[in-house]
Symmetry: C2
Subunit: 276 residues, 2 copies
């Protein structure tokens, strides 16, 4: 079972039309009919991810950075839980970027994320990221337009730096519709154990939906590069989202092709005879 | 199915006799006969851990720090993979402490671990820890005896500080025998994909087995406190180890009893009628 991922990849310099991309698309797979096959496939990917992850760690030369961005309630936390939750926590680190602190704001906008770039052998996950600085910040006009324009370049240079040092950068936008978001908000409000995930201020942001979609389209156009491509994943069917992202991560790590290092000793000579 | 965990807890000021503690003990459970029950029980604990973890995160007031120490090849990485691998990576962070860097050595011995103490809502796992500074450092005599003696106090004060700030500290020694270690080394040497986990220098450390056991016994005696107890878990039967540690983590988080916060808005008033 192979998803066509290429259709979700944003070509460098090409502005995606998010409104015309079906956020509930499943490439013909059916939630009921294909359920078993999909679950098996995801389980198989999880196995492969763990195996690739171990090689990545043993090799200690490359790293993978997964950037997750989306509108509120689109499923970032759920993606972390369900897709990355199967990986070995030994060498995965998830960083959730919230409202910047005073100290963070006293530096350039890449300072706080750079600190958490994954080291060799590690998988880093940014749940929100430096892209907030060309999304929420742009939508609210917290910095002037010229500054925003320059930030796209800074982002591209930063991600080139990471790529040059052996980090593969994969950026994922979880794509959902405005109606879908409202449904998720209602669900959070219905369930007392989900109240903590809702904030009345989310509605203020929701009112700016079109401005956000516009900011996303521009950011994706300007920062989807060969070194660090953006993927817009239809995310209303969560099982499909999990399948597509699992496949994307497996494919990326397989391309990176991490290898167990050759031992710098003769394994046949150990342990020496007569050892106690 | 309940393991008696209390027998693994080291009483403050009491020196454990590791040689007399059976590192292959399973409290009467049988690998074959009880396999299914044990697997079910572990799966159930994993579910509960995830649920508790979500509450911990939502509450955002307390944290849990799990310290793992053991002789080489006793199964620290395997414990991370199998016991903590079931948790949501969103709020678990594993830190593996290796040979200190120059910068780390230019500070006091708690500096590098303090940085990685888990924040409110998080579970931190130290795979090796500040205890290396009273284990390997002591065994090799890299610092003088008085310095080691003072370190036990520094450790206790540090862990009191963490406890005082809302962090539960649980310290686990994975207990295995010298024969078991040799078997694991042989296994690593037999499997090419495990060669990277073996280092001929491991045999130098193995030759100091008794010195290490002695250093462990003293460290456990001096630093097992009410606020931050040590548990010596028989770890030769890995399924039993996984069962015991899963139960210990569930029990600890249940005692911490994290609560979903009450919303500071009226959920019934949201979303407002007529919202688009």
């Amino acid at each position: 079972m192979k998803i066509d991922l290429d259709r979700y990849r944003i070509r460098p310099g090409k502005r995606p039309d998010l409104g015309r991309r079906d956020s509930a698309n499943t490439q013909g797979l059916d939630k009921q009919d294909d359920r078993e096959k999909v679950e098996e496939q995801i389980a198989e990917y999880q196995e492969r991810l763990r195996a690739l992850q171990e090689r990545l760690y043993a090799e200690g030369k490359q790293s993978l950075l997964v950037v997750l961005q989306a509108m509120d309630a689109a499923g970032k936390d759920s993606t972390v839980k369900h897709v990355l939750g199967g990986m070995n926590p030994n060498n995965v680190r998830v960083w959730s970027f919230k409202t910047p602190t005073k100290v963070e704001l006293s530096h350039d906008f890449l300072w706080r994320v750079h600190k958490h770039a994954p080291g060799a052998g590690y998988v880093g996950v940014f749940n929100r990221s430096h892209y907030e600085d060309v999304l929420i910040v742009k939508v609210h006009g917290w910095v002037d337009k010229d500054t925003i324009e320059r930030r796209y370049d800074h982002i591209n240079h930063f991600e080139e730096l990471l790529a040059d040092g052996g980090t593969r950068v994969v950026k994922i936008m979880l794509h959902v519709s405005k109606e879908y978001q409202l449904g998720r908000f209602r669900r959070r409000l219905r369930k007392p154990e989900k109240h903590w995930k809702f904030n009345p201020a989310d509605l203020t942001e929701r009112a700016l939906w079109n401005e956000y979609q516009d900011a996303f389209e521009i950011a994706l156009k300007k920062t989807s590069t060969e070194a660090a491509p953006w993927f817009v994943i239809p995310s209303e069917e969560r099982w499909f989202r999990n399948l597509a992202i699992s496949q994307l991560l497996v494919k990326t790590l397989e391309e990176m092709d991490p290898q167990f290092p050759a031992p710098d000793f003769d394994p046949a000579a150990y342990p020496p005879e007569g050892i106690e």
